[in-house]
Symmetry: C2
Subunit: 294 residues, 2 copies
Amino acid sequence: MTRWAEGFIAVDWGTTNRRAYLIGENGDCDREFEDGRGILSVGRGEFEAAVREVRERLGEKPMLLAGMVGSNRGWIEVPYVPCPAGLDELAHGLVRIGDDIAIVPGVSLSDGRYDVMRGEEVQLLGAIASGQIPADCLVCHPGTHNKWVRVSAGRIESFRTVMTGELFNLLRERSILAEVISGQAVAGEAFCEGVKRGLSGAGLTAELFEARARFLLGNLGNDDGASFVSGLLIGGDVRVGLHDMASSRVIAMGRPELTGLYSAALAECGVATDEVDGEGAFIAGAKQIAERIE
Amino acid sequence: MTRWAEGFIAVDWGTTNRRAYLIGENGDCDREFEDGRGILSVGRGEFEAAVREVRERLGEKPMLLAGMVGSNRGWIEVPYVPCPAGLDELAHGLVRIGDDIAIVPGVSLSDGRYDVMRGEEVQLLGAIASGQIPADCLVCHPGTHNKWVRVSAGRIESFRTVMTGELFNLLRERSILAEVISGQAVAGEAFCEGVKRGLSGAGLTAELFEARARFLLGNLGNDDGASFVSGLLIGGDVRVGLHDMASSRVIAMGRPELTGLYSAALAECGVATDEVDGEGAFIAGAKQIAERIE
């Protein structure tokens, strides 16, 4: 039995947040915390200290790090594993720092199209390993960057990223649309109207400005702006995902407030959705990878 | 002869900049300046002082103000004039502050689609009045928000706004694409590749992320990122403009570094472009409106 089998800490270390889980010898998650110490808040040369912080809270255990911590802005740039990628490929591509730290590689695609992911792969493959999703399916994983992922025989076969979340946040924080979309997006009538426009592919950058014009001319209410624009972006996103990866059933994995919006948009296309919680899937994936560490 | 005929100051007062021109009795532009005192840098209640600054530099003359100064974020919100709109309609819609200040209304569209402009209308109608462009044509007016404008019998008949410039700037300043597009966009091979992708309408928010993936995977060079993404956005923009307003000849009006990129993108569609300088057109339009002031 390796030291890792006696328990370890798994960290989902993203750009703005990190979530750390203490996984006990029996495989249960004994303790966890989330904080704002994403990689952008950790300076060069400060990752060892940032790791110590985690151990001070969860114990002196080996650590498995996934997500943007392995990017060119993170601690060490871990080369991507190309598609098709399963748990064995991820485990094989781990970069070790001493005996008790391992960083998970991201996954890349370069089959004519180009794409990259870091972090979602652990959740996805964990969800398969734990039986939450089938070994052959289409997954939609919304977040800052939504990922449409074709899973085949338990491995990530292909995927496509759409920067919907980031664009919505940029527009809300910094653009001329800020006042139009300051509210909360909900999956009602205005959202569905936006989805239909987005699905039509008529020209996102024009549709966005029209939302502002409608607002100024009294045709779009204060409460509807965020929902309409969210629908517009998610409609365009679903258009790309279903075009690339036609499917009559989609698994939406991630935060419920986002998977709910994608489910509503997919329903407009007659596509059924199963919503899956990403957190449990991450823990399952981390355990699978840790078991493969010598 | 009204006091306005003895000379006046015309100000193109935008969001981030303002340009002021002293127009003499003979109609020539005698002096001018540009500064960073766009409406966002002028607080509520400070517009009278901001106007005094202009007169201190150009003289105690009547002032004609155009652009965002008449918006809900400007000095006074001046109601839009609906399409079709010509110089007479603009002059009729002026809002006066005392005898010697007049603010030009913007133009709105609400014929099923909704749109608004503030500032471009003076340039456009000025260009027609001074014979720079014909009374029936399609104009492309790039800037923060590109405007496709259908001119008919010397009036603005219809238009469509695409927020290409603002989106490019947001992506460059704040997004995960920042490092990819930090360079200068030029109308070469990478730009044309982006234009073709944009024209295809395959899904802007996905194509944008793919630019980052290509950059990370070594498929898009440091020097090509800005050109490719600029091409992508302008290609999508041209797709909207030509779809709405099919034409085999377009007039591109505005700053030469932008009209040049749009000309190159339109050439990819087999559309010929005449480039027109917007500054002279603004002065011509301001003079036409001032002549209509009682």
